[in-house]
């Protein structure tokens, strides 16, 4: 081992350590502050306690907002997955006139019309439809924003399924419904699971649309309540915010662990946007 080599090795590990610290330090607070008897903004070894958790459960809106998040994301996820699956299958297997143009426009839309760029017309539209404060309406808006990308990811999956499966089933006399139920759906299950997780994670973290469209605090999801808690200021909320942030993050992290364990963290174009 030459001295140059040793210096390079040390430099290498220092670099990795710095990067690791950069990414890890902000997150560690999420593990310590919820259980600290005197939670502060800075990172420190906690005086262990459960009292913050109790306080959070007693907060008038904390649990409601998590429930709201579940309802909102549940609807958005189911709508996105069901509609995208139907559309992707049809677009993959049937040559509808104008299909290629449609696919091109969908791909374009999925990146151009973001919630941010279209927030004004979306707000006005929902205002005029009387859907401000409607969780269902908001879920539909969130779903439609995710649909183009979801259709694309799923169409990739379906395209990779050999056509001979369906042809084989047809030769043995299966009707279109049987082909779908016996063959296509079971084989496309990993793709559908991916979209379920993808759309849930995306909807779960969406702040802008519910912030814009749900003005009633009793209907707001966790994403919006967290900001409200922070905006109110005051030290009282430092008992609630850490626990609440943790509770709000758990579903996403759990899903991530589940996906990376079952399928490996595969990479689909713009899987998260």
């Amino acid at each position: 081992m030459t001295p140059g080599f040793v210096v390079r090795r040390i430099g290498f590990y220092v670099l990795v350590a710095v990067v690791l610290a950069f990414f890890a330090v902000p997150m560690l607070w999420l593990a310590s502050a919820p259980f600290d008897a005197r939670p502060g903004l800075g990172l420190r070894w906690p005086d262990w306690t459960w009292s913050n958790v109790t306080a959070t459960f007693q907060h008038p809106f904390a649990l409601t907002s998590l429930l709201n998040s579940l309802v909102l994301c549940g609807i958005a996820t189911v709508v996105t997955t069901a509609f995208a699956a139907l559309a992707a299958y049809s677009l993959s297997r049937v040559r509808i006139p104008g299909r290629d143009l449609l696919l091109y426009l969908l791909l374009l839309l999925s990146s151009v019309v973001t919630g941010t760029a279209a927030m004004v017309p979306i707000f006005v539209l929902m205002l005029q439809l009387g859907l401000i404060n409607s969780q269902f309406g908001t879920a539909l808006v969130i779903a439609s924003g995710m649909l183009p990308a979801a259709i694309f990811i799923l169409k990739d999956f379906v395209d990779a399924v050999p056509r001979s499966y369906e042809e084989s089933a047809r030769v043995f006399g299966a009707s279109p419904a049987q082909v779908l139920g016996h063959v296509v759906l079971p084989i496309a299950r990993p793709g559908i699971a991916t979209i379920l997780v993808w759309s849930f994670v995306n909807a779960w973290g969406n702040f802008l649309l519910p912030f814009l469209l749900l003005r009633d605090v009793g209907k707001q999801p966790a994403a919006v309540l967290l900001r409200t808690l922070n905006d109110e200021g005051g030290s009282a909320n430092l008992t609630v915010i850490p626990v609440f942030s943790l509770l709000y993050s758990i579903p996403v992290v759990a899903l991530y662990l589940l996906v990376s364990k079952r399928y490996g963290f595969r990479f689909h174009g713009g899987i998260k946007s």
Binding site: Y165, F172, P186, R189
Partner: protein, 351 residues
Amino acid sequence: MAGIEITGVSTVYPNGVRAVDDLDLTIADGELFALLGPSGCGKTTLLRTIAGLEPAAAGSVAIDARDVTRLEPGARGVAMVFQDYALFPHMTVAENIAYPLRVRHVAKSRQREVAAQTAGSLSLGELLDRRPGQLSGGQQQRAALARAIAAGAEVLLLDEPLSNLDARLRLEARTFLKRLQHELALTTVFVTHDQAEALALADRIAVMDSGRIRQLGTPREVFQRPADTFVANFIGSTPMNLLPGKASDGAVSVAGARLPVEVDLVDGTPLVVGVRPEYLKVSGAGLSGRVSIVENLGVTSLVTIECADGTLVGLTVPEQEEPAVGEALSVSAAPGRLLLYGEDGRLLGSR
């Protein structure tokens, strides 16, 4: 009697290519029939048209004297094994084999019974609860065959049934397939690009090119008397000698030699003389030249001789008679093995 009657069938791709072009073909009941040709010749498309997976743009397909041209694939009474087998990965072998019955809502117990019975006769009995992913290539192929047989159809269609197996397994599977077809006596049509496979398996062969049939006949006919130079080129494991020549004084002159065969053609008419390397032997007279290459084929050797005018002629010799490179040789054909093709490539006759 489940014969297949194909009349004037054309299958056209969306881009206008006529994959099958105004084709007539009759396949007899119980026959093991091969569709043979290079890739892109339309053989698979023809098979898929029989199955109903490709719509026929013109003509009609009849199975068992019943016009099925407009029927769905499932209503035609055919079963098919796909090149990639298309075994459903989420179903066990038993579920795969019984799938044709499940589609028809046959009772579960009966499904299981048929699956066990069919699997048993294809020595898959131990594997009923495995998934396709846990089977070897040969087992997958047999499972796909079992599923097709369990469908109880009268016509069996096989798309390149042996192409996904490795070389040694392919020979075993070939023998197995021939015996199975013989026992079941199902009308069977298979597609292959491997001429040796077609020759070994089939009762009759249709050699296809550009959506049409070039030659229809038994393996012996197709091997011994190719109807044109395309078929002559395509059939045979060693390439047939196709030597340019012309008629002169009622005989044929080729590669600087005069072959003592009688032709009834105007002097100077261009001809192609075809002869298989296996049918040439060393003799005192005939085509002469020097040995330029010797290739060992196992029991025989393929010897290429170069004639004075540069024409290359191949012949096979038994391994113990292998000549040295550079040696001068004369070769002549066994009687009746010399084929004469006209300028258009069509067979004029044999001598």
